[in-house]
C-alpha cells in the first residue's frame, strides 16, 4: 500500500515523493534483478470485464494496456497515461531526467508547435491537467467535461507520441525544474528524507530520487530525452486509464484507432534490468538539525519486499499488518500514542517493484523525545512476537481495506492515479485481488515478514531536531542510547 500520509508532519512523506510537473502546475547501465512482470506480447486483443471492481480492460495490438472505469455520476472524463519510468530507471548521469521529460510533455509536439499553442488548446477544451514523476511511475492526466472526450483523447495521443523537445523550450524548462528543486530544498522534511534515502539506498541513491540532481538536470540534452522516449515511452510499457462518464467499448475502439501507428518497442526491462539495491551492511543513525522543525521527528527504515513472485506473500502481510497498526484502538497506537509518549506513530511498507522501504515513523513533543523513542523500540521488540496480531485483527484489516477501496472509487479523476500507481509498481491483477489476498494473511505470515525484513536487520534511524532540542541534550549519542544502540546513556 501507499504509506499513509502523516498529518502531523506530512512533509515526511517526501520519502515517497511524487513530483508534480505543473504543481501549481516535473538510463542505461544496470545490474541484475528480476525485471518487472510484463504482459505477454499479444497479436490479438484481449478483452475482459472485471465485475467486482467494474474495471474493463483491453490490450491494444501494440501492447498498450487500457483500463476503463465507468462512473456516470457527473459529466466528466479523466484520461491518464502512465509509464514504468522514473527514478528506478535512472543511473546518476540521468538523475532527474525522467522528471524533466515529464515537464516537456506539456510543450510542443507535432500538432501544437509551442507550449503556448498547447496550453491554448488545453484551455479551449476545458482541461484540468497535470503530471507526476515518482520512483517507478510517470503519469499524465487530463480531466474535462464529457463533451470534449474525443478531442481530449486526440490531444493526449498527440502529446504522448510526438513530442518535439524544442531546444529553446528545454533550456527554459531546465530552469523551471531547478526552481522546483529550490522549493523542495526549502523544506526541512525534504532535506531529512533525502538524507535518510542516501543512507538507505547507499549504492544507488539516484534510483530512489525522483527529483534528481541539479547538475544532471541542468545539463540535460534533447538526446537524453530522446533516449528516455525510445526506451520507456513505448506502448508496451504504458497504461492508458480512462475514468468517468464514458463507455468502455467506445474507448477501446478509439484507442485501437488513435494509437494504431504507435509502434511497439523492445521491453526496456529486458535490456536494462532494474538494479539491485544491496542490503544494508550496518545500522546507521543520523540526527539532523533545523530550526523550523515543530517537534522531535524520528524514523526507522529497513529494506522491505519487492513486487516479485517470491515476495508477494510478504507484501500482503506487510499491508495487512500496517493496517492493523493504524487503527486507533490497536495496542500499537494505545502504547505509543494514547499513552501520551508520542504525538503520532505509524508503520508501513511502500508498494514498490524494486525494494519498497519499511518505515516506522514517529513524532513527539521535545520533552517526550526520550520516552517516545524508547517506547517505539520496546514496541518494535514486541512486534516481532509470533502472536503480536491475531487472525481477527487481520480479517478486520482486510475489511477496512475493502471500504477504503470503495472510497477510492468515489472520485474517478483521482481513481485514475491510483490505478496507474498500482499498475506501475505491481499490476492490475495484483490490485484486483489485493483485498482478498490481504484477507487471507495469517499471523504466521506477519511473523515471517517481520523475521525476514525487520528482526535483527540493520536499519537507518533518523531524527530531526531543532538547535534548542540539541541544547537541551538531544544529541546523536542520546538518540543512539534511547534506541539501544550504545551511545551516551
Amino acid at each position: 500500500m501507499k504509506l499513509r500520509p502523516w498529518s502531523l508532519v506530512g512533509a515526511l512523506t517526501a520519502l515517497t515523493v511524487v513530483v508534480p510537473a505543473l504543481g501549481l502546475a516535473p538510463p542505461d547501465e544496470g545490474g541484475a534483478t528480476t525485471p518487472p512482470t510484463k504482459p505477454a506480447p499479444t497479436a490479438a486483443t484481449q478483452r475482459a470485464a472485471d465485475a467486482p471492481l467494474a474495471l474493463a480492460r483491453h490490450t491494444a495490438a501494440n501492447g498498450l494496456e487500457v483500463v476503463v472505469f465507468e462512473n456516470h455520476a457527473v459529466p466528466l472524463v479523466t484520461i491518464e497515461i502512465a509509464f514504468r519510468n522514473g527514478a528506478m530507471t535512472e543511473p546518476p548521469n540521468f538523475s532527474g531526467v525522467s522528471h524533466l521529460y515529464e515537464h516537456m510533455f506539456f510543450k510542443a509536439n507535432a500538432k501544437y508547435p509551442s507550449q503556448e499553442a498547447y496550453m491554448a488548446r488545453a484551455n479551449a477544451l476545458g482541461i484540468v491537467f497535470n503530471g507526476t514523476t515518482g520512483t517507478e511511475r510517470v503519469n499524465y492526466f487530463f480531466t474535462t467535461t464529457s463533451e470534449h472526450l474525443d478531442d481530449a483523447m486526440e490531444f493526449m495521443r498527440d502529446a504522448i507520441t510526438s513530442p518535439t523537445f524544442d531546444p529553446g523550450e528545454l533550456d527554459r524548462e531546465r530552469k523551471v525544474v531547478i526552481g522546483e528543486m529550490d522549493r523542495a530544498e526549502s523544506s526541512p522534511f525534504f532535506l531529512f528524507s533525502r538524507e535518510l534515502d542516501e543512507r538507505l539506498w547507499y549504492k544507488h541513491p539516484s534510483r530512489k530520487d525522483s527529483l534528481g540532481s541539479r547538475k544532471t538536470v541542468g545539463s540535460a540534452t534533447v538526446q537524453m530525452l530522446r533516449t528516455i522516449q525510445q526506451r520507456y515511452y513505448v506502448p508496451n510499457n504504458g497504461l492508458l486509464v480512462v475514468t468517468g462518464d464514458v463507455k468502455a467499448q467506445s474507448i477501446f475502439d478509439q484507442v485501437d484507432r488513435l494509437y494504431a501507428d504507435w509502434k511497439r518497442g523492445p521491453d526496456p526491462f529486458q535490456k536494462f534490468p532494474l538494479i539491485e539495491h544491496p542490503p544494508l551492511k550496518k545500522t546507521e543513525v543520523v540526527v539532523m538539525e533545523n530550526e523550523r522543525v515543530p517537534a522531535f521527528v524520528g524514523q526507522l527504515s529497513w529494506h522491505g519486499p519487492s513486487l516479485r513472485a517470491e515476495e508477494l506473500g510478504a507484501t500482503y502481510a506487510a499491508d495487512g499488518f500496517a493496517t492493523v497498526l493504524a487503527e486507533a484502538s490497536s495496542p500499537f497506537q494505545q502504547r505509543l500514542v494514547e499513552s501520551g509518549h508520542c504525538l503520532q506513530a505509524s508503520f508501513g511498507w511502500y508498494t514498490q517493484r524494486n525494494v519498497g522501504p519499511i518505515n516506522l515513523s514517529f513524532a513527539a513533543a521535545p520533552n517526550k523525545a526520550e520516552a517516545c523513542t524508547k517506547a517505539i523500540m520496546a514496541e518494535l521488540g514486541r512486534m516481532t512476537a509470533p502472536d503480536y496480531v491475531s487472525r481477527k485483527n487481520l480479517v478486520d484489516a482486510a475489511h477496512r481495506l475493502k471500504i477504503d477501496k470503495v472510497k477510492e472509487r468515489e472520485r474517478p479523476s483521482e481513481y485514475a492515479h491510483l490505478l496507474t500507481f498500482w499498475w506501475a509498481s505491481a499490476d492490475i491483477d495484483y490490485y484486483r485481488t489485493y483485498v482478498e489476498k490481504v484477507g487471507a494473511v495469517q499471523p504466521k505470515d506477519v511473523a515471517d515478514f517481520m523475521q525476514t525484513y525487520v528482526t535483527d536487520k540493520p536499519f537507518v534511524l533518523g531524527a530531526l531536531i531543532t538547535p534548542e532540542m540539541k541544547a537541551a541534550g538531544i544529541t546523536e549519542e542520546k538518540v543512539r542510547s534511547w534506541a539501544g544502540l550504545g551511545g551516551d546513556s
Binding site: L8, A11, G23, L24, A25, A73, V74, P75, L76, Q115, E116, M119, A120, N123, A124, G126, I127, V128, T143, T144, T145, R172, E173, K175, V176, V177, G179, E180, M181, D182, R183, E185, S186, S187, F189, R292, V293, P294, A295, E327, A328, S329, V337, E338, G340, L343, Q344, A363, A365, H399, R400, K402, I403, V406, K407, R409, E410, R411, P412, S413
Partner: protein, 423 residues
C-alpha cells in the same frame, strides 16, 4: 414555554430536497452511491473568535470526535467505527465548524446516531484533551516549519489585521495551552442550538429517512436564537510590504487584495478574472521567462470574506514581480479575448464538477452555497453566472479590486518596494 412552530414542508429543488426540522436546515440529495456523507454544520466560526479564545473551536471539535461519547467510551467508539467502516471527523473553519460521517449505505443510520452523539454528548476525557492539545500545538508550530506555511500565516495576519479572520482557527500556542476541559464543555454546549445548525446529507437515502433521523436525535435540542451577523469588509487604503528573512534557496512571495463577496454583482467576474490571471502568469512567468516553477493567482472565494493574491517562489523576486504586476495592469487596461474567456469558463466548469465527484464534495458545495452564499440555489446559478461574465466585467473587476496589495516576502532577497503592486 410557547410551543415550537410546526416544521415547514420541504421544498424540492431538482435533486435536492430542502427542509427545516426543529429549526435545523436540512438538505438531502439522494444519489446512487455505495457511500453516503452526512455533514453537520455549526454556524458562527470566526465571528466568535478573539485573541483570547482563538483555537477553542478547533480543540473542542477535535477532542469531541476522537474522545468517545457519554454512551461509548473512546475505545468502544473507535471499535464500532472500525466495524462499521465509518469515518467520523470534524473541522473548524472561518464560516462554521463542521462534523461529518461517511458511511456505507447500510450503516448510515447508525453512523448518523454516532455523529449526533459526538456533537451532543461528547465525553471529552481529560486524557484525550491533552493528546489533542499536544497535536494542535505541534500543528501551530509547524506553520512556521515551511516557508509556504510562514508565508500563508503572515499573509493572513497582514491582510486581515483587525478583522475576526486575523485569528487563526487553530489558535496560538498561548491560547491552546490554557484551555481547560470546562472551557471545552462550555463551548460545545454553546453550540447546541438548532438555530445554528444545518445538516447536509448526500447519498443513497431520501429526505424522509433523514428527517426521521434528525427528529429522533435532534428533536429535543433547544432552538436558541442565533442570527448570523454580517462580517466587516476588508479594505486597505495603502499597499504594504513586509519581509521575513529566512536563509533558504529561494524566496516566497504573496501579494493579497480584496475581492467581492458572494452577494456582490461582480463576484462571478472575480472568479473568472483570477483564473485568467493564473493562466497568464503561468505563460509569462514560467513558460516564457523561466522565472519560477510556481507562479499563480490565488483566490479564496469559498469563505464569507474573500481574498485574491499573486503568489510566486523565485530567486529573482523583483524581476518576477514586475512581470506579474505587468500582467495585472494588462487585465486592467485590455479586454480579454473571447477565446481565452471561453476557455477559462470551461476550465471553471471542469473544476467545479471535479469537486462534486464524491458525496462529500457535493455536500460541501451545497453547504457552501447555502451557508456562505446564502442560497442553496447558487449551486445551479453560480455556474450560469460564470458563463455570462463578459470581458468588460473582468476588466472592471481588475480596476476596482486589484489595488493596494498587502505583500509578504519570506526569504533572503533584497526587495525593491517599487516593483510591488501599489495603487
Amino acid at each position: 414555554m410557547p410551543e415550537a412552530p410546526p416544521d415547514p414542508e420541504p421544498v424540492v429543488d431538482g435533486d435536492l430536497t430542502v427542509g427545516s426540522i426543529n429549526g435545523i436546515d436540512v438538505m438531502v440529495k439522494q444519489v446512487e452511491a455505495e457511500l453516503g456523507t452526512m455533514q453537520l454544520y455549526v454556524r458562527g466560526g470566526a465571528r466568535f473568535r478573539t485573541a483570547e479564545n482563538a483555537g477553542l473551536d478547533s480543540l473542542s471539535v477535535r477532542a469531541a470526535v476522537t474522545g468517545g461519547t457519554q454512551k461509548l467510551d473512546k475505545d468502544d467508539f473507535d471499535k464500532e467505527l472500525f466495524e462499521l467502516g465509518t469515518e467520523v471527523g470534524a473541522t473548524a473553519l472561518n464560516a462554521y465548524s463542521m462534523f461529518y460521517a461517511k458511511a456505507l449505505r447500510k450503516n448510515m443510520a447508525r453512523s448518523f446516531e454516532l455523529l449526533a452523539d459526538v456533537f451532543l454528548r461528547p465525553a471529552l476525557p481529560a486524557k484525550e484533551l491533552e493528546l489533542q492539545r499536544a497535536r494542535l500545538l505541534t500543528q501551530i508550530k509547524s506553520l512556521t516549519s515551511s516557508p509556504d506555511g510562514q508565508l500563508a500565516e503572515q499573509s493572513r495576519r497582514l491582510f486581515y489585521a483587525g478583522h475576526p479572520y486575523e485569528h487563526a482557527a487553530s489558535g496560538t500556542e498561548l491560547t491552546v495551552s490554557r484551555f481547560t476541559r470546562e472551557d471545552l464543555v462550555e463551548h460545545m454546549a454553546s453550540l447546541q442550538n438548532t438555530s445554528r445548525l444545518a445538516i447536509v446529507v448526500v447519498g443513497p437515502v431520501d429526505y424522509a429517512t433523514v428527517a426521521g433521523w434528525v427528529k429522533t436525535h435532534f428533536g429535543a435540542v433547544p432552538r436558541g436564537s442565533y442570527e448570523p451577523s454580517a462580517l466587516p469588509v476588508v479594505s486597505h487604503e495603502t499597499p504594504q510590504l513586509r519581509t521575513t528573512t529566512l536563509q533558504i534557496p529561494t524566496n516566497f512571495v504573496e501579494s493579497s487584495f480584496s475581492t467581492p463577496g458572494w452577494q456582490d454583482d461582480d463576484f462571478a467576474a472575480s472568479i473568472l478574472a483570477l483564473r485568467l490571471l493564473r493562466n497568464r502568469l503561468f505563460d509569462e512567468v514560467r513558460t516564457r521567462r523561466s522565472l519560477s516553477y510556481a507562479p499563480t493567482a490565488r483566490h479564496v472565494w469559498t469563505s464569507e470574506v474573500t481574498r485574491g493574491a499573486l503568489y510566486v517562489s523565485a530567486i529573482k523576486v523583483n524581476e518576477t514581480m514586475k512581470v506579474m504586476v505587468d500582467e495585472v495592469e494588462k487585465l486592467k487596461t485590455e479586454l480579454v479575448g473571447e477565446v481565452e474567456l471561453r476557455g477559462a469558463k470551461s476550465v471553471f466548469i471542469t473544476s467545479t464538477l471535479m469537486s462534486n465527484e464524491s458525496t462529500d464534495g457535493q455536500a460541501s458545495f451545497i453547504a457552501m452555497c447555502a451557508l456562505v452564499g446564502g442560497d442553496h440555489r447558487l449551486r445551479h446559478e453560480l455556474p450560469e453566472r460564470i458563463k455570462a461574465v463578459t470581458s468588460e466585467q473582468v476588466r472592471a473587476f481588475a480596476r476596482k479590486y486589484m489595488t493596494n496589495m498587502q505583500t509578504i516576502v519570506v526569504g533572503s532577497a533584497e526587495v525593491d518596494p517599487s516593483v510591488f503592486p501599489s495603487k
